[in-house]
């Protein structure tokens, strides 16, 4: 049951005010970036962006466009605050996480502005819960400066081909090595663990490959512990785009279709690992 009938506190305009018929459209996406306790939320007229960072090396962003919401209004140019993502997720899923057909939790979100808590009104089956979550000063976020003009190599793969690979990554390896090349092995994921090395090769003509634009052979290594959380986003997605720039920065963009068929995006950016040791092949 939507909350559009809910009157706002009289006379006050909220910096951010939004309604969503199905809170899962938000909670499932937030889970895909939940590898740290805190997140920075940015609300603009286009929608909501939730950012999580770790070790100054990795950044994940979940985008929920304004069109996904039944109501979405932002008073200023942009509204930004830091919040506990763990608490936010616990509140959004307060009625439980199992999805019975036909039932969904309705959400109304209100934020009065700097210094105020984020208010959540959640309703399911006539039961209403009100949550008030404190907000903090937003952190300064990393800017990977990743624009399409700087991309050296890019491929788009169907997620189904990568899911098992990521779920079974040899975690005894410190790094995940990614090779992208116009020549063999085209696209290769490698680990170097206690048992030995393992390589996963995707040929350019594989039917999983939706797009293959590799101009240069690049081999980069990333800390596997930082990339492992992206498996959650991969599990939700139908397609993933993998891009690297000249410095070896990695961009993973996941296209996710929600229950209503609407498209949302999650992206992960990662710095290459500085401690390069001799690669075992």
């Amino acid at each position: 049951m939507p909350f559009s009938a809910q009157p706002p506190t009289s006379g006050e305009r909220h910096a951010l005010s939004a309604s969503l018929d199905n809170a899962r459209h938000l909670s499932s996406l937030l889970r895909a970036v939940h590898f740290q306790d805190h997140a920075t939320c940015l609300a603009t007229a286009s929608g909501l962006r939730v950012t999580v960072e770790d070790a100054k090396c990795i950044q994940a962003n979940a985008f929920i466009q304004a069109e996904i919401f039944q109501e979405f209004s932002v008073q200023e140019e942009s509204v930004m605050f830091r919040i506990s993502l763990s608490v936010l997720l616990d509140c959004l899923t307060i009625f439980g996480t199992s999805s019975l057909p036909g039932t969904s939790t309705a959400l109304r979100m209100c934020y009065r502005g700097y210094g105020y808590p984020l208010m959540l009104f959640l309703e399911e089956g006539g039961v209403v819960t009100v949550c008030k979550i404190n907000t903090q000063e937003p952190d300064e976020l990393l800017d990977f400066d990743f624009c399409s003009t700087k991309v050296v190599n890019k491929i788009i793969l169907q997620s189904e081909g990568l899911r098992e690979a990521f779920a079974e990554l040899d975690m005894t390896s410190e790094v995940l090595q990614i090779t992208m090349s116009p020549d063999k092995p085209y696209f290769r994921l490698s680990t170097f663990g206690n048992a030995g090395s393992a390589h996963l090769d995707y040929p350019r003509d594989s039917d999983l490959m939706e797009a293959f634009h590799c101009n240069q052979t690049q081999t980069n290594r990333y800390k596997i512990s930082l990339l492992k959380p992206s498996t959650k986003a991969l599990a939700l997605s139908c397609k993933v785009s993998i891009r690297t720039d000249a410095q070896g920065f990695l961009s993973l963009q996941y296209m996710i279709r929600n229950e209503d068929g609407q498209i949302c995006f999650v992206e992960y950016y990662c710095c290459p690992d500085e401690n390069i040791t001799e690669a075992e092949l």
């Binding site: 889970r31 899923t93 206690n194 030995g196 090395s197 393992a198 995707y202 040929p203 039917d207 939700l236």
Partner: protein, 345 residues
Amino acid sequence: LSRIGDELYLEPTESGLSLRAVNSSRSGFASFLFAPLFFQLYEPGSAGPDTELFRCKVHMKSFLGIFRSLPSLEKSVGKCLILLKPRASRLVLQLHCKHGVTKTHNLAFQECERLQAVFDTQSCASRLCAPARVLAEAVVHFPPTLAEVTLGTGPGGKISLRNYVEDEAEPSKTMVTELWLAEDEFQSVAVAPGSHIASNLPLTIHFDEPGRPVIFTLEDPVLEVHLVLATLSDLPDTSRSPSTNGVSHLPAPSDDFTDDLESYMAAMETSEGGSGRPPSPAFLPCSPRPAEAEPEEEEEEEEGAVPGTPPHKKFRSLFFGSVMTPGRPGLATTQEVLAEDSEGE
């Protein structure tokens, strides 16, 4: 094989690829021999005039990690290529999967001596042959924590299975399970009178006197499986009371039997039991093979040593787990593939 030992020995031979394992107390050994016909392509490599075919051992866990999820493997893997690269010190396993994806695993291996249990099925006095199902069903009646079982023969050609009871155990607190199987449950029975020991596809059990190993074999056109288990023997003194109903109460194993066992099992890794050691009652000398280098580990040689008891639970789960699926030796029963887990609710 992983239920027996932590290391997997791979030995390519002219007659096929042999995969073997031995347990840490050296009282259990299993080998699976895959005939060349099992493979699409089998090239054991060439042995020079002075060199033998290469063999190695790898950590069981590393090897198993490659074949983690059987249902998904069956769905997605077309073929598997196994290459042994001695110069690079790598065992390469390459899985060719659907969508053109190739998974290559380079496992580190160790060179090793030939692992061979010394046994000769022809010299065993008794032999039982039954579908594995019969024995599996019999074993199910015993408590899962049971360590040893006694296999015996009784009047009327019946075969008995009884749990082994230690001397020290209090009679009132011990549960004894005894199970008799009629001769007709077995496909063939050739039993030496009074013999007993403490321990779809037809399974053959070769056994002899107490102390001699019991050998389980399974054969099919492309696969040959052997499981060799040491058994308890009576004390060396000859005051053995004649068995009344075919089931004798065997003495508890001595405290230092593990050390004694080592010396016997050390014999497994060398070609001859000789060089001064008394002939062992448990193992026969093996067929002539060039003498190998000294085996590793302790070697406390003692006389009249008593081999240890087979770990019953391991035996049950290793062997019957793998033979229960007809036509697919060596694989666990297939499981239903569950729906893919998705994060969304």
